[in-house]
Symmetry: C2
Subunit: 344 residues, 2 copies
DNA sequence: GCTCGTAATGATAGCGCTATCATTACTTGA
DNA sequence: TCAAGTAATGATAGCGCTATCATTACGAGC
């Protein structure tokens, strides 16, 4: 239980034979102090094991080293990957990630943004484009870099890094149609804004191809899960037994559908095609392997934090909407067409 | 873009007609100021929309409102549930959760604890008992409440909330033996300290029952995944085709094993029993439903943060090791005995 | 009546940094 | 030769709170 006094800037300063403010500068803006002084300061810092006090720094400068991250869920694999990208990307840059969990509730999102705003954060990363008016105002009022992730659109608050959920659903639906499925169904859970966009892409594409029926759309406002996927497929089959393929909101549901089909001895892809969304690791390993839409989750996280750090280093506030795209990963679960794909 | 000055304690004080320090007290220790003053202060706070500045508070008091949470992975479902418990439990208590991701590396754990220590955290929650000497010293030197989670043992640094991985593995192995399996195998990934304890429980129990063979233990230092579960089962079957049941390190591996068995037309539970660990949501929904060991993940998170908050409120530092136990959830994947269990 | 204890409030002095404005030592051009 | 610029460093004054030590008012006890 070391009871020594905390090492402060002054301690470093007197050891290095300079003033405290010079040490401060040597640490924060190394190019404005002379080579010689910088070396002396650095050696003194090492000798004493000096660690800056973030509270004092924040109080004096009016800025904090906190990068706020607003996500709707911490238990969702999708956000877990994004988070990993963020933590990987921030590395030892001296910033702290502060997580706020909105549980898909706009009011909690507002609370979180208000809290962040009061802390004068170094940066903010927020999920999606569909903020409430109050949240949008809070975002617009932030003086720091702001990155919206997980979605793509024409009017980001500052920067956005994501992909088009609508386009991804269109591509997935086309894939099902190309495989010869003609009575498409949709399984959806939660139905948050991005899920809704996927549904819209599905509906438009299926309608244009004449393979859409509203009877074959089964959704629930509850959270997504594998169990829910099985239940939704059961519901769908009860209502519309003619369905020959389902586009699932996400991979959890798709996996549940695969299990339910197996229980009912429905052959996949022969009698029922199943397509998921996100391409979680397990989809390739499933039996049969499940077609999904690969989304750049890790990269969104990494690029988002990079964008914040770059903007912070440059002192500029860019406006840019970056589309990282997606990829249809066709696997056996939808391989009805002659071009049957085999995956180990 | 409101450019108003930040509302400070002094603003509140002059509106309430008291001194700043009294406002500070009214906010932090309401019972030492008079009823009348407290009411005036509270109304002034509301009128002005005052939000305390955490940096100033921390600098002046030498304490922060940060509760540090050290976990080995953010992409693991197991920790996602624990995190959710923590975030749920901390609620609006005015503390901030700071996450540190060690990626199972002791050196990163030390770094994280050192960083936390320098911030004089309000509390620390750390995963497991198996810290390096340096990390253990850092933990011992902390003046704040410390909770170790995810494991159970006789000598917590302060408090611990978890369960015995050894005992859980013993129970799971007994279950397999009770079902009549006689050539048990083990699939393991990562092999971190808690995984190792599970293996030890498995080995001891299987040895005592005479159903153990080292040939039937297949592990990898790499991270766990469904794909890896399928690969490990393939390896095991190549080396020891006589295996009739596998105890898997965790549910990802178990699910991969189920898929691989299906690919090989091996009947589960008839030809191969499969038991997972953690009882993730998907295990019950799988086909066949998979036996697993239910672990109190959400509750560990919730109880850990509760313990920190309680200790903080009481100003005491208890020592206690709380065992939340576990539960064997027997499902079809190991139902070889006559008492076949059906689960919807 | 006077000391003493107790409850409520206030004055003062930092916490450890950084923003801002000097100051110093040199260089440079007319 | 000297005003004027430039680069490097320093002195000072807070940032917004809280710890600590007064101070005040008032009733209890001898």
């Amino acid at each position: 239980m070391t009871k020594e006094k905390r090492v402060t800037l002054d301690d470093v300063a007197s050891l290095a034979g300079v003033s405290a403010i010079t040490v401060s500068r040597a640490l924060r803006q190394p190019d404005v102090v002379s080579e010689k002084v910088r070396a002396r300061v650095e050696s003194a810092v090492r000798r004493l094991g000096y660690v800056p006090n973030p509270a004092a720094r924040q109080l004096a400068s009016g800025r904090s080293n906190v990068i706020g991250v607003v996500i709707p869920s911490v238990t969702n694999n999708v956000f877990a990957d994004v988070l990993r990208g963020i933590y990987d990307g921030v590395g030892e840059a001296g910033y702290e990630i502060q997580l706020a969990n909105t549980r898909y509730a706009p009011s909690l999102e507002e609370n979180a943004l208000r809290l962040f705003a009061s802390q004068k954060p170094a940066g903010v990363i927020v999920t999606g484009f569909d903020q409430s008016d109050a949240s949008a105002d809070l975002l617009a009022g932030l003086a720091c870099p702001v990155v919206q992730i997980m979605d793509h659109g024409p009017t980001p608050a500052q920067m956005s890094i994501g992909f088009s959920h609508f386009d991804a659903a269109v591509a997935a639906t086309r894939h099902l149609i190309d495989q010869g499925y003609t009575r498409l169904g949709f399984l959806g859970a939660r139905m948050d804004p991005r899920t809704q966009k996927r549904f819209n892409g599905f509906r438009q594409t299926a309608m244009l191809a004449g393979v859409y029926s509203e009877r074959r759309v089964v959704t629930t406002p509850e959270a997504s899960s594998v169990t829910k996927g099985a239940a939704l497929l059961s519901d769908l089959l009860a209502i519309a037994p003619e369905v020959d393929a389902v586009f699932c909101n996400n991979d959890d549901l798709a996996l549940g559908a695969v299990f339910e089909a197996r229980r009912r001895r429905l052959s996949v892809p022969g009698e029922l095609g199943i397509c998921g969304f996100n391409d979680l690791e397990m989809m390739a390993a499933a039996e049969p392997p499940v077609t999904s839409v690969r989304t750049p989750r890790l990269e969104m996280g990494r690029r988002a934090i990079e964008a914040v750090l770059t903007s912070l280093a440059a002192g500029t506030r860019d406006t840019a909407a970056i589309d990282l795209g997606f990829e249809i990963v066709a696997r056996e679960s939808t391989a009805r067409a002659s071009t049957l794909l085999f995956h180990k």
